[in-house]
């Protein structure tokens, strides 16, 4: 399979703080890779660099063969990024927000309508899409944002804590939608999460980051076997404890 993401020796410094330290990672096209790690491990920084938001201090990052520094504009055309703490415009309705976002992807009115209809289905917000975003609960806002991230069927969806703030039912719904988009539309997904259940159910492969480095990588069952653990939580605790 082709590489959707190829990260080589990626280092990122913020002043004297090293957030990423020679990180190496690759994500294959059409797979769901979960990034897990303790707070401050560098997950969000890595996702932001892949999304062409931050510049690497050194190293190389390619998305479908496009260098994220040199071809940032091209990269933005094929990715969709969902930040962990993303919000929606308070005074726009859900419909208006989705329309606004869809217009950056296409000029065709029919296509925009189709994209927004897909998003409406993903979000499951129904009639509430007509209300302003400031009236939404945290969970409703998150569903709107997940819908925004997937509605255009991007080649690469970068999802930072997609299930954050969602109740069990809606978290399950979002996971099913992500799986559907990967299976039906060939979307590649790179996600980060603190929810090990979510990662185990969703991800074909997992990369465990600690102190800006990949400290373990593999399929969930491989990692469980390797670290003689019953679940990913145990793997996480053992790996981070050992690191």
């Amino acid at each position: 399979m082709d590489n959707a993401i190829r990260i080589a020796d990626l280092t990122k410094d913020f002043g004297t703080i090293r957030a990423l330290d020679s990180l190496n990672l690759s994500v294959e096209s059409g797979e769901i890779l979960g990034l897990i790690g303790p707070n401050g491990a560098g997950k969000t920084t890595a996702l932001r660099i892949i999304s062409a938001l931050l510049l690497p201090t050194s190293g190389n990052v390619e998305v479908f063969g496009l260098n994220v520094v040199e071809k940032a504009a091209e990269v933005r055309k094929i990715i969709s990024y969902l930040p962990e703490e993303a919000g929606a415009y308070r005074n726009l309705s859900g419909w208006e927000y989705l329309n606004f976002m869809a217009k950056f992807r296409t000029d065709s009115k029919d296509e925009i309508q189709r994209i927004v209809n897909d998003a409406a289905e993903i979000s499951g917000l129904g009639e509430r899409l007509k209300d302003k975003a400031k009236t939404y609960s945290k969970g409703m806002k998150r569903r709107l944002l997940v819908a925004r991230a997937l509605m255009t069927k991007p080649r690469l969806a970068i999802l930072d804590e997609p299930g954050s703030g969602l109740d069990v039912l809606h978290a399950y719904h979002v996971r099913e939608i992500i799986k559907k988009y990967v299976k039906d539309y060939g979307v590649t997904v790179l996600l980060s999460s603190h929810n090990m259940l979510e990662v185990e159910h969703l991800c074909g492969r997992v990369a465990l980051l600690n102190k800006g480095k990949t400290v373990a990588e593999g399929k969930p069952h491989e990692l469980k076997e390797k670290f003689d653990s019953a679940n990913l939580e145990e793997v996480f605790a053992k790996v981070v404890g050992l690191a």
């Binding site: 913020f14 002043g15 004297t16 703080i17 957030a19 707070n39 401050g40 491990a41 560098g42 997950k43 969000t44 920084t45 932001r48 999304s51 062409a52 938001l53 931050l54 510049l55 504009a73 933005r76 055309k77 990715i79 969709s80 990024y81 969902l82 930040p83 703490e85 993303a86 919000g87 929606a88 415009y89 308070r90 976002m101 950056f104 992807r105 944002l145 925004r148």
Partner: protein, 431 residues
């Protein structure tokens, strides 16, 4: 009742006072700004008084009799007097003799002055002697009427020495090189000053609103966590910047129009009280800008607005939230308020050189300077102002576009602590 009030109050005060942005923006800046403003105004008043004391006057004596000589001698005892060789006041103006004598006041003594004085002292009190006073009107300002007021005082003193109402005066204005008979410069100045106040206030409020809107627009994206998403979309960063600036301009423009309508109505309530027939039609006197003047004023205002908005965007890029952005933008307010307050009352040409240079250096002064300049037909001042502000704006726009084009728009933060702490905080925030 009010249990815990004191505790909350102390906490609030600690939080607010310990915020360096609030301390600087709301306490230190006003403490510096108003004394500066007061010092400039005080200096201007002193300069005007000194100028008035050293006043010179040009007299055109068309009479030649003894009384006119006495009149001139008496004036000469308190003012420096030049005698014109011309007999027609318009010739004096056309030949620029007033500038040569460094004065703005011309007194014409008509041919029948001495004859009328003689008749008056002979007991025919109905006959009085007339002197005509012509004052150059340059622009509205609190010191505009000082020259003619000095002559009023002098004539009043002259009458008191001889006989009440013996000499009467007829005032005219010299506007843009033309004598406007019967137009009292003091009345004209009083009328124009309402406009002189309206324009700086309108510009000050327009720029303040716009900066607040632009800063809030960027900071809101950060506070509501929408900026990150926006920056990953397939859209040119410059388009995002221009979209934000344009949105702010439109909203600020609507606010400015609403404000100007309201303010014009308010000022109109004063000018409508001027009795009819006082010959103060500003349009016929040429004291309203021409179409070209309005065009220049519009361009001047637009570039200043763009410059203020770009500055607000740059500053708000360093803010973490709306409150920080508004505090940061408030540091620019003295540069809006000081020129507005000074130029509201004083013509820039009446100011000391250092103050004049400082005001010209502030880009937000230029629409106010232009508004006066175009009224007086001085288009070059407006044009140079536009060129200067445009260059300044381009520099700020470049900085703003660089901030938007790089990760700085997400990571830049103004901190009042050490660099080490700044680095740590930025890294923590990003995780």
């Amino acid at each position: 009742m009010l249990k815990g009030f004191g505790n909350i109050l102390v906490k609030e005060l600690k939080e607010l006072i310990r915020d360096p942005k609030i301390l600087l923006g709301m306490i230190i800046v006003p403490l510096i700004m108003f004394p500066i403003l007061g010092a400039v105004m005080n200096f201007s008043v002193q300069s005007a008084q000194e100028q008035a004391q050293k006043a010179t006057i040009l007299i055109m004596n068309n009479d030649g009799g003894n009384w006119s000589q006495d009149f001139i001698t008496t004036i000469n005892s308190s003012m420096r007097v030049f005698i014109s060789n011309y007999t027609n006041p318009q010739d004096v103006v056309n030949q620029d003799e007033l500038s040569e004598c460094n004065t703005t006041q011309l007194i014409e003594i008509p041919p029948d002055f001495s004859a009328n004085m003689t008749q008056h002292v002979s007991g025919n009190e109905n006959i009085t002697a007339l002197v005509k006073i012509y004052s150059v009107f340059s622009s509205a300002g609190v010191f505009e009427g000082i020259g003619s007021s000095m002559i009023d005082v002098f004539i009043d003193g002259f009458n008191r020495q001889l006989a009440p109402n013996m000499v009467r005066e007829e005032k005219s204005s010299i506007i843009k090189g033309q004598i406007e008979e019967g137009v009292d410069p003091a009345q004209l100045s009083a009328l124009m000053i309402s406009q002189a106040i309206a324009m700086p206030i309108t510009i000050m409020i327009l720029l303040t609103y716009s900066m607040q809107i632009a800063a809030t627009s960027v900071a809101m994206e950060k506070e509501e966590k929408t900026l990150e998403t926006l920056l990953t979309l397939p859209v040119d960063r410059f388009s995002i910047l221009m979209g934000k600036l344009s949105g702010s301009i439109v909203v600020a423009g609507v606010a400015a129009i609403a404000y100007m309508i309201g303010f014009n109505y308010y000022m109109g309530s004063f000018t409508s009280a001027i009795p009819a027939g006082t010959n103060l039609d500003l349009v016929s006197l040429g004291l309203v800008p021409s179409l070209f003047g309005y065009l220049l004023l519009g361009i001047s205002l637009f570039v200043a607005l763009l410059s203020a908005l770009a500055m607000a965007v740059v500053l708000s890029a360093f803010a973490e939230d709306v409150r920080s952005a508004q505090s940061l933008v408030s540091y620019v307010y003295p540069f809006l308020f000081i020129p507005s307050f000074i130029l509201m009352y004083v013509d820039i040409n009446a100011l000391p050189l250092a103050v004049k240079v400082a005001l010209y250096a502030i880009p937000y002064s230029h629409p106010i300077i232009a508004s006066r300049a175009v009224t007086m037909g001085d288009y070059w001042t407006a044009v140079w102002g536009i060129v200067y502000v445009s260059i300044f704006t381009l520099v700020i726009m470049y900085v703003a576009s660089r901030l938007f084009a790089t990760e700085k728009v997400l990571t830049a933060k103004l901190k009042f602590r050490g660099l080490r702490k700044r680095g740590k905080k930025a890294a923590q925030d990003l995780e």
